[in-house]
Amino acid sequence: MTTTTAPAGLGYRHPWIRIVGLLGAPLAWLVVVYLGSLAALFVTAFWTVDDFTGQLVHTFTLANFREFFTNPAYLGTIARTLSIAICVTILCLILAMPVALFMARVASDRWRPLLVALVLTPLWASYLVKVYAWRAMLQPEHGVIAWLLQPLHWSGPGYGYVGIVITLTYLWLPYMILPVYAGLSRLPQSLLDASADLGAGNARTLRTVVVPLVWPSIVAGSVFTFSLSLGDYITAQIVGGKVTMLGNVVQTTYVNNLPFAAAVATVPVIIVLLYLAAVRRAGALDQL
């Protein structure tokens, strides 16, 4: 009996032991593995490599950043990657809003779990399988998309920028639907009723009541879709034709020139940090 009560007593008398016991492991993970590797990446960006063997040379240099930021081709890649991430986020939002609204507000209690399960289903399939499925669908001549557009005498988007945006939107859509759905289900019915009582139509209620209240959820979803798109490179490789994203630059250079790849890799990190700062400034994270 005494042996089992002793540790509890110890923790009770010294609260810091409880805190260390509780937070020690996750904090060690966060600091050493997570922040540590990020910091290692950042430090590597200031080194260089032996021209021939590709081995690291530990001398401080800004050459990697200079090379990256003075080459118009790379600046173009940053702009392209950003615009892809923004397009994907907007498309996800446009598609997720009605779906989430229907799931949270219209569907009966019986159907709701089924709909949530359906939204989650694609997440059970392998990323690669889904992207290769889109490669087949986007095939310029025999693909499903080209076939659907044929009666309209339009040609399909084929492999390229549009293909990447469509595929990434498909991949990340659940990450937008779920937070928005969660936000909408927490919305008190009384507010909607009050809005209707005061004479607001559906569109006005959506604009002035629903969207401001679920704004934090929308932002949470956009952080997922934006940052996931920003870092992706496999989709670009499979359905991108000759279009490349920032991740592809990292992929082509990391083996031979790790410092340069590290310099490139800091760019999306900085963009995401700026995005989070902007989001925080707008107050959208306060309720999360």
Partner: protein, 397 residues
């Protein structure tokens, strides 16, 4: 307040940890890379050490786990008592990186990796007298620029292939025998041309310039001075307008050629075989301008602790029976002249032109470009491989 202080501490701790890691790692970079050092194993090859760590291209060291019928590792283990651990790599760059990390005894290196390994002091010379199978290797594979330095052999040739011009016969109705349609700005196949997505493809542009712009004086597509290199990059930039997609994964190339997404472009024999086997209307030929290609070499790691097993492996993998099996499984020309009698498909060596010296005459095997020109010029500096990588990455960006 508390959380803020905690965060500051966390950042400080991680920065300190990093500093320690950075300082600890800095000692390894000061190795000399001037001369390919070390002496070859003097022999004789004795009893194995009991294990062998093999770094190989996929399909080069099969132990039956891919296909139970495809297994030349298990018989080796039974015969020599050397337990084989295999790791495969996807690109030459990856192979070099893994070898630099150490822990491997032998590696199957392509010509664009071998010199980096030799000058990086990652491999040792090979005493070919201790490898009986070496005697039957095709003479035009021995002592090449990518597998020997100053008359010293650094490995055993394994097999070779040429990069071919391939086309989908639905899209391209006339048989092709030239790279013209893949480089000409007025190519009728604009938008559906393909190219290999690797810095080494710059050599393909140089090869085309060798044939079409003799005034540039390119003698070896892997030895380009700045002017020649710039011309090649200009050609590649121009070609980008013709490209539908680039490929680096050969299964993607099979799919693109078969479906007709790609009409014409650079390819390998194994891609044609796979596409045709699936009913794809695909043909391939060696271009009259010549071709780039690959020739792989089995090399031994610098301080391999399992040297006896390593030499037994070199002999085993180059022996006629095994060499025939590997070549047929992977789809390339075997390096052992006696392997052709051992293939299950008797026309195999003809299909792959194994012993056809004339066929390989204008095939330029992948090589690692170095600042000291590989073609022997001493009046100019050549563009080293690291600049090839940077230029390729900028081209693709």
């Amino acid at each position: 307040m508390h959380t803020k202080r905690l965060l500051t501490t966390a950042v400080a701790v991680s920065a300190a940890a990093l500093l320690i890691a950075a300082c600890g790692g800095s000692s390894s970079s000061s190795e000399s890379s001037a001369a390919p050092g070390g002496a070859a194993f003097a022999g004789p090859v004795g009893k194995g050490e009991g294990q062998l760590n093999v770094l190989a291209w996929p399909g080069y060291a099969e132990n039956g786990s891919t296909d139970p019928a495809v297994d030349w590792v298990t018989p080796f283990e039974t015969k020599t008592g050397c337990k084989v651990n295999v790791k495969t790599f996807g690109t030459s760059d990856e192979a070099v990186k893994l070898m630099q990390g150490g822990g491997w005894d032998v590696v199957s290196a392509s010509g664009d990796a071998t010199l980096r390994l030799i000058y990086g002091d990652n491999v040792q010379p090979v005493n070919t007298d201790l490898v009986p199978s070496y005697a039957d290797i095709f003479p035009d594979l021995k002592m090449q620029k990518f597998n020997s330095v100053n008359g010293v052999a650094y490995g055993i040739p394994h097999g070779r292939g040429a990069n071919l011009v391939m086309w989908n016969t639905d899209k391209v109705t006339t048989p092709q025998d030239s790279w013209a349609a893949t480089w000409d700005p007025a190519s009728p196949y604009k938008g559906s041309v393909t190219a290999y997505d690797s810095p080494i493809f710059i050599a393909d542009a140089a090869l085309w310039l060798m044939a079409t712009k003799p005034e540039l004086g390119i003698k070896d597509p892997y030895a380009l001075d700045q002017k020649q290199f710039d011309a090649a990059m200009e050609l590649l930039t121009q070609q980008k307008a013709l490209i539908g997609e680039y490929w680096s994964d050969y299964t993607k190339a099979v799919d693109a050629f078969k479906s007709g997404t790609t009409s014409i472009g650079t390819s390998w024999q194994v891609i044609q075989n796979l596409a045709s086997a699936d009913g794809g209307k695909v043909m391939a030929a060696k271009a009259k301008e010549g071709a780039t290609g690959w020739s792989d070499t089995w090399m031994v790691a610098k301080d391999s602790p399992n040297i006896n097993c390593a030499y037994q492996w070199l002999d085993w993998i180059a022996s006629p029976e095994v060499n025939a099996q590997v070549a047929e499984w992977f789809g390339e020309a075997p390096s052992n002249s006696k392997a052709c009698a051992m293939t299950s498909d008797k026309t195999f060596c003809d299909t792959y032109h194994a012993g056809d010296t004339a066929y390989w005459k204008d095939v330029y095997y992948w090589n690692t470009p170095t600042a000291n020109c590989l073609d022997g010029r001493t009046d100019v500096k050549c563009v080293p491989y690291s600049d090839w990588v940077t230029a390729w990455s900028a081209l693709r960006a």
